[in-house]
Amino acid sequence: MADTLLDIRGLKTWFKVEDGMVRAVDGVDLHIDRGETVGVVGESGCGKTVTARSVLKLIDMPPGRFEAGQILWQGRDLIPLDQGEMNKIRAREIAIIFQEPMTSLNPVYTVGDQIAEVIALHQKLSPKQAMAGAAEMLRLVNIPNPQKRVHDYPHQFSGGMRQRVMIAMALSCQPKLLIADEPTTALDVTIQAQILELMHEMKDKFGMAIMLITHAMGVVAETCQRVTVMYAGKVVEEAPVEALFADPRHPYTQGLIRSIPRIDRAVSRQARLESIQGTVPSLLNPPAGCRFAARCKYAMDICTQGIPPLKEVAPGHRVACVL
């Protein structure tokens, strides 16, 4: 299925700060097809959130700035659109849920009011119909007693329930793409699994695509069809999920995969959990050449001379490394 929904090409989102430009996203290519789940992984600060927010144009400008690139949504570039035009795309076409379910709901309104607001914003419905839609959405995200719970305030819900409410809100206009920015990081493990399962239930029901931003490689292995690995504002590897885990090509990806805790390995070989040595380079003055060079055990002279481009090594498997 080559029906491309979102096609990010060479996106550069920079932030102007006192000492110069933070190149938070510095030439990212990423595409998402209709109905697929794409994982975006990479360590903290590599630009995942900035990429996601760029797609919905939620970056504050200034200090942010689109330096280059295109964000093609079903073939139409979103970068020139103003906020009014973006508001027609938000929720209706692309929705986003954030990491913090505890504070993502307005404390002074009932959850029903908040979901109904989103519905009424994008569809011509009476307040009563919008409220009925809100209750229906709560039912779909498995909140018990939805007809009553619509009248409850956010503080009457647990964190996991609030994230369900956020999902209900995000899906209330049946977007074609749901961007989930670490949707489960703030929740405990059992709730995490439930939320991920819910997202996939919803995906099957509505046939939407998901861009799942996460730190957890385990989650990616279980839920995604394709993975994009980011490092210091750039995409370093992109592959179908099986290919990535079976044959990671980029040294950074290899490190990430080795750092997944695995019971079988720990027991059989008493191997210690590996972590990648060193820290992410500054995005203010990124090093020339491969940005992973300072931490890469295979680094050579040519690595620091030019930025290695993404090269296709197998169908759908692309890597930015000289190796």
Partner: protein, 318 residues
């Protein structure tokens, strides 16, 4: 798949889930009713509201029950204490204090509320624009606010009164002119704390995730402010607003005291207090009643403000 629209689903078949909602009907009430329900549980606030209601209906309806002229001079009965003929006693001209209290209360309360509205409107407007706009507009508005804060109140007031009293009198009549001038001056000198408060609230609230979430789901800037930021900033503003009513009533007293308020033959609680000050030793009741009325009003309004703030915050268990 994409065909199953949840909204139309429930709109088509609302019958079955509707049953479940019946037993808890009381919960599905409008936010205004909910706020009222919560306000009712605040004993002090309810007491305050009742006291204020009595005061307001007293000054509005009282004159019909007690139709005595406010300027019926009777030197034979001057400076008398409370009696059947004059329930609150008389002043140095033998004028009936009850009638004057009711008439003066209308003016004092009207001045208080109108001045609060002016202060809140200007303050919320300036504060929210400054809080949303960053950069030069914010800086300019805050500079203006600081400028007003730095102005010495009383001399400025005297100046404004002297400059505009006569021209306002021509347009709006003696009492109308004085009313508008006093309200504008008091409101115009009390909006700055509101503006600063609202701006500070906006600065922190606009970074909140729920505002971000609303933006991400397609809420326009105006909607973000009106629907999501302002209601969360309202609590402290309400409290300041109620204090402003009290302050305006007292301020009007000060103006009347200085002879800058309403014409001297028009009674207000403040001007009655001023006139009574020379007779404190022989006719204490004269000062007691207007003073007590101001005190009661101010206290009642402050309690109401407390109650309103709590009632508007759903996180507070009431």
């Amino acid at each position: 798949m994409a065909g199953s629209t949840p909204v139309s689903l429930s709109a088509d078949a609302p019958a079955s889930p509707q049953l479940a909602v019946q037993p808890r009907k009381a919960r599905s009430i409008s936010p205004a009713l909910e706020t009222w329900r919560r306000f009712r549980r605040h004993t002090l606030a309810v007491t305050g509201a009742i006291v204020l209601l009595i005061l307001v209906s007293g000054v509005l309806l009282g004159p019909y029950v007690w139709p005595v002229a406010i300027n019926d001079i009777d030197f034979a009965a001057k400076l008398q204490g409370p009696s059947l003929a004059h329930p609150l006693g008389t002043d140095d001209l033998g004028q009936d204090l009850l009638a004057r209290m009711m008439y003066g209360g209308r003016i004092s309360l009207a001045v208080g509320f109108a001045a609060m509205l002016v202060a809140l409107t200007v303050g919320v407007l300036v504060g929210s624009v400054a809080g949303m706009a960053s950069g030069w507009l914010d800086a300019a508005l805050m500079w203006l606010t600081d400028l007003f804060l730095a102005l010495p109140t009383l001399p400025l007031l005297l100046l404004v009164m002297y400059l505009f009293r006569d021209s306002m009198k021509k347009v709006l009549g003696v009492e109308g002119g004085a009313f508008v001038l006093i309200v504008v001056v008091i409101g115009g000198l009390r909006w700055m704390p509101v503006a600063r408060l609202v701006r500070a609230q906006f600065l922190s609230l606009r970074e909140k995730e729920f505002v971000e979430a609303a933006r991400a789901l397609g809420a326009s800037k105006v909607r973000q402010v009106v629907q999501h930021i302002l209601p969360n900033a309202l609590g402290p503003v309400i409290v300041v607003g109620t204090i402003d009513v009290a302050a305006a009533i007292i301020f009007e007293s000060t103006l009347s005291f200085l002879g800058l308020g309403f014409p001297s033959d028009v009674p207000t609680w403040g001007s009655m207090l001023r006139d009574a000050k020379d007779y404190l030793d022989i006719a204490a009741h004269w000062a007691l009643f207007p003073g007590g009325a101001i005190f009661l009003t101010v206290l009642a309004i402050n309690f109401i403000g407390d109650g309103l703030r709590d009632a508007f915050d759903p996180r507070r268990v009431l």
